[in-house]
Each structure stands twice: as structure tokens, then as C-alpha cells.
């Protein structure tokens, strides 16, 4: 049996053969931009003895990375070829801008924040799809992030207008253990779970009063079931205080609502008639002064530095594969950030730009640090938190699902079908306009709902904070799972048909590489692929199917390179 041995020199050869990087990519730098702070701060934290950071990635790698990071799927081969063929010096910036403006960006951010905020919890009171759509719309509109969080923390679910946003609290049914913990984790970067029963034993600055300070915002809230509609929403009362006892010391404490170590949020003097609507069996309680409604404003207030540090660290981690602070929900004084000054600078810049996440993402994407290659030329790469090379990042289940469906040709097939349908309904329909693109994206996503969910179910894990899992179940699915096998079948309009239609094996293999890896094969790879097909012994169709399957199972496909 033939074996395909890659000579050790091959990796180096790939680097040499691919187009060299134009030194002018970064020519348009202007002083004072955040991207420059990023690069200078990262260089300032020298990694002794490892030399200079890795070089800038070539265009194919950059295109795959930026597209997966911003839209959750690789560029289509057409878009990739357009980008490669573009000779303008600002083509990377143009691509970043185009992707950030695309409907796929909003969809990708919807998935990311849905998983972060809801941790794949099943439906309780609010339809998960409505919450997802609320998020998608917010990212489509580039709603300031602080505004988005304010809406999520304030929604009571009683009005149609805030019903979707209320899922975050309502579907956790105000249960303290779940609600307080998740608020600390996802908005403050602090898992305060252990501070529930005592000041944290190992972490000096997680106090019981932090946990109960957050709990106090919600202590007076309750689940109200409308007697007629049976719809459950959040009602509030004017009484209910938080006290706590340390199981270690027996010391008792109490607190008004507070955000970590900031001062307590003191109730205003009580009104003679404290309720707008008094709580009873038929009426949801609405006090004139509502402690719960202080949670959002306290969270996003300028004094609450943890809020902007957390989101900055999370976005950085998404883009770079490694947070300044890891784990992402363990900010504390003994777990200092790898680049504390930079983190603070970026967090303040985000606030100064009115929590415009696209601004932050673009500045990171435009930095040299983001655009480095993930290949290190000598023995051991420096620690990931030095950012001297790009990290390889596992695709999230949603990214993986879209990538699979796209590279097998399903997305293109559905896109054509959606465009045809839209055109048949409206002869002036234009798929190139922003509105047209959004209509198409919505239709394609709806058409692929089932296969996307099926793939996500296989690869998703209960612990949504985990970046990567790989089990035999995953591998079996990739080898023999129905969603993939169906799309490797011929005669259904998938990529396999186009590949088999080609008489020129070399050209076919090039197409295959562009679809699977967003790059061209180097000559050695082309040769091995040709040999694989020639010696597979079961006919060309099965050989090509098997070659595709093998590439789907490879690490280059599973990780952002």
C-alpha cells in the first residue's frame, strides 16, 4: 500500500510557496489607534530568549481566520478568490469592514452570546428563538454593548417589547444559585459560587458580600403567573433583605444591593404609597422604587470597571484564542492579566467608543498581533499568553456546523434556492444590497435549521465554558454521520458533483483545497492527493468522497489556523 510521507521540509515549503506578504499592509497606521497600543504593549512584555514574534500570515490564512472569527464560517471560494486577486494595500481592512457589515456577523455574534448568556439551557418560559433573534437584531444594529446588557438585566417579561430579553433571568426562574452565579461569570468575569457560603477560601478578594450584594438586587423579585394567560413574568415587592452567615466563622453579615466592592445602592426614603401596582393574585407587583431595576445601571456604570474589563477580555479571547485573564471568569488580584495595562487601555477605549463592539473587534483584527501566522519556526512556541504567534482556535459547534455545510456545498445550494425564491416573488429583488443579503441569510439559516441543530447537538458540551472537547462520538460522527454522508452523495447539487465533473485531477484537487482549507495545495500535497485517488481502488467517486471526508476529519479543518 502506498504511504504518503510528508517530507519534514514541507511545512517550510508551504510558507515559501505562498504569496509573500506585502510590507505595506500596515502602511496606513496612524498614531494613537488602539491597534498600535495592542502591538506595542505585546512587544513590551518580552518573552526572553524566543526572539521576534511570528511573521504576518499570508492572505489565504488571514482570509480563513478573519472570516471564521467574524462570521463563523470561511469565505466562499468566490469571495476568497476575489480577495486574493485584490491588489490594493488596504484589502485586509476592506475585508474586515465588509464582514463586520454582513448579516453573517450578526448571526455569528448571536450564537456566541446566546451560548455565553444562556449556556444552552432548554426553554422554560421564553422561546429560545425569540431571545436568539433579539440578540441577532442587536448585533445587526450594532447596539452598544452596555445598552444590550441593560436591556437584558432590566427586562421583566411582562411586555411584549422586553419578553425576549427577559429570558436571561426569567428562564433561570430567579433561582439565586443560578442567576447570581451567571451574572458574576458572564458580566463581571468572576465566578462567585464559592463566596456563597463563605469568603472564598483560596481567592482573597471574592467576598460573601459580593455574592449577596448581587443577590440583593433580585431578592425582592418573584415569578408572577398571570391568572388568565398563564404567562410567567417577573414581579417585584418592596420588602426582602439579604443576610448571610459564613459557614467557616459563623460571622453574620447583611448588605444592600451592591456591585462587588462599590458602595451599596441605598433605597430612597419610602413613599407613603410605595407601589404603582400592589402585588396580589391577579396583579404583578410594581413598586415605585424597584431594586431589581438598579442592577442594570449599576452593572454598566463607569465606576464598575469589572464590567468593561470582562467584555474586553472575552472579545480578546474570542479573537486571539487566549484571554489576558484565564479562566475568563476568574478575575482576581492573584490571577493577574498577562498584559494588565493593555487590557485596561482597551477596556477604557471600548467605553469611550460607547461600547461599540465592532470598533473593538476591528482594532484587534487590524493589529499585527492578530494577523500573525500560527506557525513558529523553531522548537517550542512561546506561551500562548505572550501572543507571539497566533493560536490555533477550535471551532465552536456552531462555527463547525456552518463550516461543514458550507464546504460540502450545502450553503451555496441553499443560497441559490433562496435567491431564486426571492426573485420569483419580487422581480426587482437584488441580492447584492444589504437588505437583499439579509433576506437571503435569514432564508438560508431557516432552511438549514435542522442539520445545523443536529451537528451542534453532537459537538456541544454541557459545560459551555469549555473551549474544546473531542470524543470518539465526535469522530464517529465525522466518519459516518448522516449529515455529512448525505452531502457527499452525488446528483444532489453538492460540491462533490462539481469535483467529479472535472477531468483535470490537478484542478479538481485545487478546488477541493480551496473549499476545505481556503488555500491552494502545495505541489507535494497535490501529488499525494492524486496518488490517493489513483490507488484508492474503489473508483474515482468513492476516492474523492473519501478524500473530502478525510480532510473534514483533519485538524486543519477543525481549528482556525
Amino acid at each position: 500500500m502506498p504511504t504518503f510521507k510528508f517530507p519534514p521540509i514541507l511545512a517550510a515549503a508551504i510558507c515559501c510557496l505562498l504569496p509573500s506578504i506585502s510590507a505595506v499592509i500596515f502602511a496606513q497606521e496612524s498614531a494613537g489607534q488602539l491597534r498600535n497600543n495592542i502591538d506595542s504593549e505585546i512587544l513590551a512584555v518580552q518573552d526572553k530568549g524566543v526572539g521576534n514574534p511570528a511573521a504576518t500570515s499570508e492572505d489565504y490564512t488571514f482570509a480563513r481566520r478573519i472570516s471564521l472569527d467574524l462570521t463563523g464560517r470561511p469565505l466562499t471560494v468566490t469571495a476568497l478568490e476575489t480577495f486574493i486577486g485584490d491588489n490594493s494595500i488596504d484589502k485586509r481592512e476592506k475585508l474586515i469592514d465588509r464582514l463586520l457589515a454582513s448579516p453573517q456577523y450578526a448571526r455569528h455574534m448571536q450564537y456566541e452570546f446566546d451560548v455565553l448568556l444562556m449556556q444552552r439551557l432548554p426553554k422554560k418560559h421564553v422561546a429560545p428563538d425569540e431571545f436568539a433573534e433579539f440578540l441577532r437584531q442587536a448585533f445587526h444594529d450594532n447596539k452598544p454593548y452596555d445598552q444590550l446588557v441593560l436591556e437584558i438585566l432590566t427586562a421583566d417579561g411582562a411586555e411584549k417589547s422586553n419578553r425576549a430579553a427577559s429570558r436571561f433571568i426569567l428562564d433561570r426562574e430567579l433561582k439565586r444559585e443560578e442567576t447570581v452565579r451567571v451574572i458574576g461569570q458572564v458580566f463581571l468575569g468572576r465566578d462567585l459560587q464559592c463566596a456563597q457560603c463563605h469568603n472564598h477560601p483560596q481567592i482573597d478578594d471574592y467576598f460573601q458580600q459580593h455574592y449577596y450584594g448581587l443577590a440583593a438586587f433580585l431578592k425582592r423579585s418573584y415569578l408572577f403567573t398571570d391568572p388568565k394567560s398563564k404567562v410567567v413574568s417577573i414581579g417585584d415587592k418592596i420588602e426582602g433583605d439579604v443576610t448571610f452567615t459564613s459557614v467557616f466563622t459563623g460571622e453574620e453579615g447583611k448588605t444592600q444591593p451592591r456591585m462587588l466592592s462599590l458602595s451599596e445602592v441605598i433605597d430612597p426614603p419610602a413613599d407613603k404609597e410605595p407601589y404603582e401596582t400592589k402585588p396580589d393574585k391577579t396583579n404583578r407587583g410594581v413598586p415605585k422604587y424597584n431594586r431589581r431595576l438598579q442592577l442594570g445601571p449599576s452593572m454598566i456604570s463607569d465606576g464598575n470597571v469589572a464590567f468593561r474589563m470582562n467584555i474586553t477580555n472575552r472579545i480578546w479571547s474570542k479573537m486571539m484564542g487566549q484571554g489576558f485573564v484565564e479562566p475568563l471568569d476568574l478575575f482576581h488580584s492573584a490571577n493577574i492579566a498577562s498584559h494588565p495595562v493593555l487590557l485596561r487601555t482597551m477596556a477604557d477605549a471600548l467605553r469611550d467608543h460607547k461600547y461599540d463592539l465592532k470598533y473593538l473587534i476591528k482594532e484587534i483584527a487590524m493589529s499585527k498581533s492578530y494577523q500573525r501566522t500560527s506557525v513558529w519556526n523553531s522548537d517550542a512556541p512561546p506561551a500562548a499568553n505572550k501572543y507571539y504567534t497566533a493560536a490555533i482556535k477550535p471551532l465552536s459547534p456552531e462555527q463547525f456546523a456552518w463550516t461543514l455545510l458550507q464546504s460540502l456545498g450545502e450553503v451555496e445550494k441553499q443560497t441559490k434556492a433562496a435567491e431564486a425564491t426571492l426573485l420569483s416573488k419580487d422581480k426587482d429583488f437584488d441580492a447584492t444590497t444589504a437588505a437583499g443579503q439579509m433576506l437571503v441569510e435569514t432564508k438560508v439559516t431557516a432552511a438549514l435549521k435542522r442539520p445545523l441543530e443536529d451537528i451542534v447537538t453532537v459537538f456541544a458540551s454541557q459545560n459551555t465554558a469549555l473551549k474544546f472537547t473531542a470524543s470518539a462520538n465526535h469522530a464517529l460522527y465525522l466518519i459516518n454521520g448522516p449529515e455529512i454522508s448525505q452531502r457527499l452523495a452525488t446528483g444532489e447539487g453538492y460540491l462533490i458533483d462539481a469535483l467529479l465533473a472535472s477531468d483535470d485531477d490537478a484542478a479538481m484537487i485545487e478546488q477541493l483545497y480551496l473549499h476545505m482549507y481556503s488555500r491552494k495545495p502545495v505541489p507535494a500535497e497535490r501529488k499525494y492527493a492524486q496518488e490517493f485517488i489513483a490507488t484508492a481502488g474503489e473508483g474515482k467517486q468513492i476516492a474523492v468522497q473519501e478524500l473530502m471526508r478525510t480532510m473534514l476529519c483533519s485538524a486543519e479543518y477543525r481549528f482556525v489556523r
Partner: protein
């Protein structure tokens, strides 16, 4: 044996005995060959069989009643209707619902003084698995997979045979390859097998190609994620080669194990242990007896008792018990108080666990509850102590640290320690 001779009257006793012996011998040999022998070199198979410590976890999901199992209190306020019976260990009694297990008690020890301080299913289960009341830690099965699996053992290190519940994340901060592989009862794993039209030869070539692609991709890049990813494919390929494990189960064995789901699962568990899976967990569902506690325990333990005793006996007969730690546990016990539906509710305050085999002193009892079984009387321990004990028993020093990306994380909870008197 006189009885056998009597029964064999009418046919040729000598031939019968011979053919029977021949069948048994051949069967055992074939079993051994189909195990390690089929894929590993004979020397390695021997080495693995001799050295690899393994764990069998039998999880009685929902919370078995300690009164109706390991810590009976007949004739007391909360004791319920059942008697206590003597066991193969003089002086040790267990509930009469487990007569077969009673005959094997000399292989097991009981801890009767566990206080978990939680009455929540999930919290109790996580505490029992992770040995920590909270936090992201690996399950004992994943820890075993990491430290006990032979480096050349290509099978998943931790296999859980169950049918219900979410797929939990068991590996914590350990590498993904140590997460549990979940089997839906005795059904084969989903998507097991090769795609249509793909021969074994072609599959092997694809696998070689995949490895080469990955080798190239690894060059100059951080390896650990890619290595984990590779391992998942190794495990998948090994399972594909062992599709036969999930086929029809032997009728005679099913007669012995019982034809119910639990019997079938335990028979599969035995096969997987023989195949070299490091930790096999079998879940027996249905102990959450808030109503009709006594009737349900009659049914549940009837299934459990004979099957478990058969499995334990088989492990012993095969000479594996010195290397296999056997644990029977729940996420908590059940209330002393019997509610108005004749049920017992959640009770994490005083419960029992049974264990035996590898590294465990047999025939012992650790700790006790008070006369009415309402509280631990002496030698109180929690799931942290148990976690240490399990790992020490299989030779993992649980008081050492995991080394994870330059961080040292204690393997067992440093505020607890092993139950030394249980360890050999």
C-alpha cells in the same frame, strides 16, 4: 457432585462432562483472544492485563435507600418492613433485598458514615464523582483514564453505559480524550461502522492520510489540542474494529445476568473491562422513590442484586478483582422519615457506599449511623474522602497535584483525605 450426577442420568455422563469442559475452556480462550490479543502484541496484552488497574462504577441513580440496602435498621422507628440478613462476613448484615450480594460480602466493604450536606440530585452526583462540593473538576473516571490508561491502550478510558440524562462534561480541565464516552444502553455507539462503499483497506489509507495531514499541520504549532483530536479518532477507529462487542449478547450469559436492561448493561460492562477500558460506569436508573419506596426497592434491588453479584463473581473468577476496584454508590440516600405516600425523600445526611476489589480491604465496615439511622454516629466522611480512597486504592496518589499548563491543581480535595483503614 452428587446432584449433577443425578441430573445427568440418562445421557453419557463422561461425554457430557467432557464436552462441557471443552466448551468452557474454548470459550474462555476465545474470549481472551478476542480481547487484547486481537489488537495488541501478546506481550503487551499480558503486560496490560497484569498491570492496568481498572474501576467499575455501579451508579444507582436517584438515590438508593441506605435502610433497604447497606445499613438496615430493622425494628426501629424508621427501619421499614424489611429484615436484615447475615452475609458471608460474620457479624455483617445487610438488607434482605440483596441475598445474592450478601453471599459476596467478603469481597466488599461498606462505608456507612457519609454526610454529603446536600439533598440535590445534581449537586450530590457531582460531589460523588468529583470529590469536591463545587467547581470544575474531573470525574473519578476521567482521572482514572488519565493516570491508569496504558499509553498504548487505544480505547476510550472512561465509558458510561446509561440511557437517560444529559451528556455531562466529565473531564474538567483534563484533556478531552479523558471525557466519558457515553453509550446508550447496550446499543452500539451512534454512527459506528464505515461509510457505505468504503472498504477496510480504504479506511486505513484515509486514516494514514489524516495522520499525515495532521502531522504537517502540527509542525511549528502547539500540539496538545491536535493530539487530543487525534486521540478521538484513534478511539473511534478502535470502536469500529470492535463493532462485534455491541452485537447480540450470549444467551447463556443473559440467563445468568438477567434479561432486563441492567443485566444486559452489566454483561457489556464485563466485556468492556475485559477489553481493557480503564473505567466502566453502569447506571441503574430509578431509585428516586418519593412514593412507594418499599415496593420500588423490592423491584429495583431484585434487578440489581442478582446481576451485580453475578458480575462481581465473574470479575473475581477471572482473577481480575485484584486489579478492578468496584464501587456501588448513589448521589445521596433516602430520608429516615417515611412520607404519607410510603416514600422516602432525598437525604444527603447519612448514607452508605459499598466498594471492593483492587486495593480495598475486604469484609470491612467503616463508620456507623445512630440507632434510628437519622445521623452519622462515628467516622463521618464525605465524597471527598471517598474520592481519595478510590484513587489511592488503584495506586493514584490523590494527594499529589495535576500538572495542568504549568498550574498545580490538587487531585483530591486537600481538606479531605483517604479512608486509610479501607486501604490494603
Amino acid at each position: 457432585m452428587p446432584m449433577t450426577k443425578q441430573r445427568n442420568k440418562g445421557c453419557n455422563a463422561v461425554d457430557h462432562d467432557l464436552s462441557r469442559r471443552g466448551f468452557m475452556g474454548g470459550g474462555l480462550m476465545a474470549g481472551a483472544m478476542a480481547g487484547f490479543g486481537s489488537l495488541l502484541s501478546p506481550a503487551l496484552a499480558k503486560e496490560m492485563k497484569g498491570q492496568q488497574k481498572q474501576i467499575l462504577q455501579v451508579y444507582l441513580q436517584g438515590g438508593v435507600s441506605q435502610f433497604e440496602s447497606w445499613d438496615p435498621k430493622p425494628g426501629t422507628t424508621y427501619g421499614g418492613p424489611f429484615r436484615a440478613i447475615p452475609t458471608s462476613v460474620p457479624g455483617t448484615q445487610i438488607c434482605e433485598l440483596m441475598p445474592h450480594t450478601a453471599r459476596k460480602m467478603h469481597l466488599l466493604s461498606i462505608v456507612r458514615s457519609i454526610n454529603l450536606r446536600t439533598n440535590d440530585h445534581n449537586q450530590g452526583m457531582l460531589f460523588m464523582e468529583k470529590g469536591r462540593p463545587a467547581g470544575t473538576y474531573p470525574y473519578v473516571g476521567s482521572v482514572a483514564s488519565k493516570y491508569l490508561s496504558h499509553p498504548n491502550n487505544p480505547l476510550p478510558g472512561f465509558v458510561h453505559i446509561t440511557t437517560r440524562g444529559l451528556s455531562g462534561e466529565t473531564a474538567g480541565f483534563l484533556k478531552a480524550q479523558h471525557a466519558q464516552m457515553r453509550l446508550e444502553g447496550v446499543k452500539p455507539p451512534k454512527h459506528l461502522g464505515l461509510p457505505k462503499g468504503v472498504s477496510e483497506d480504504l479506511a486505513l489509507r484515509s486514516e494514514n492520510l489524516r495522520l499525515q495531514l495532521n502531522q504537517q499541520f502540527k509542525t511549528g504549532r502547539s500540539r496538545s489540542l491536535i493530539d487530543s483530536y487525534d486521540t478521538s479518532f484513534d478511539q473511534a477507529r478502535q470502536l469500529i474494529k470492535r463493532t462485534h462487542l455491541f452485537g447480540e449478547q450470549d444467551e447463556k450469559e443473559l440467563d445468568r445476568y438477567g434479561r432486563h436492561w441492567f443485566g444486559r448493561r452489566c454483561l457489556l460492562a464485563r466485556t468492556l473491562l475485559e477489553e481493557g477500558v480503564t473505567c466502566v460506569k453502569v447506571t441503574h436508573h430509578g431509585y428516586d422513590t418519593h412514593a412507594e419506596n418499599f415496593n420500588f426497592h423490592v423491584e429495583q434491588l431484585d434487578e440489581f442484586d442478582k446481576t451485580f453479584a453475578t458480575l462481581l463473581g465473574d470479575i473475581e473468577e477471572r482473577g481480575m478483582l485484584d486489579n478492578v476496584l468496584v464501587i456501588v454508590y448513589s448521589e445521596f440516600g433516602r430520608t429516615p422519615k417515611i412520607n404519607h405516600k410510603f416514600g422516602r425523600d432525598h437525604w444527603g445526611t447519612s448514607l452508605s457506599v459499598a466498594m471492593g476489589g483492587c486495593g480495598i480491604q475486604p469484609g470491612g465496615i467503616v463508620g456507623s449511623t445512630n440507632a434510628d439511622g437519622t445521623a452519622v454516629k462515628d467516622r463521618e466522611v464525605d465524597a471527598g474522602h471517598l474520592f481519595h480512597t478510590y484513587l489511592q486504592a488503584v495506586g493514584v496518589d490523590s494527594q499529589q497535584n495535576h500538572e495542568i499548563d504549568g498550574r498545580a491543581i490538587p487531585i483530591g480535595d486537600p481538606v479531605t483525605e483517604p479512608i486509610k483503614e479501607l486501604l490494603l
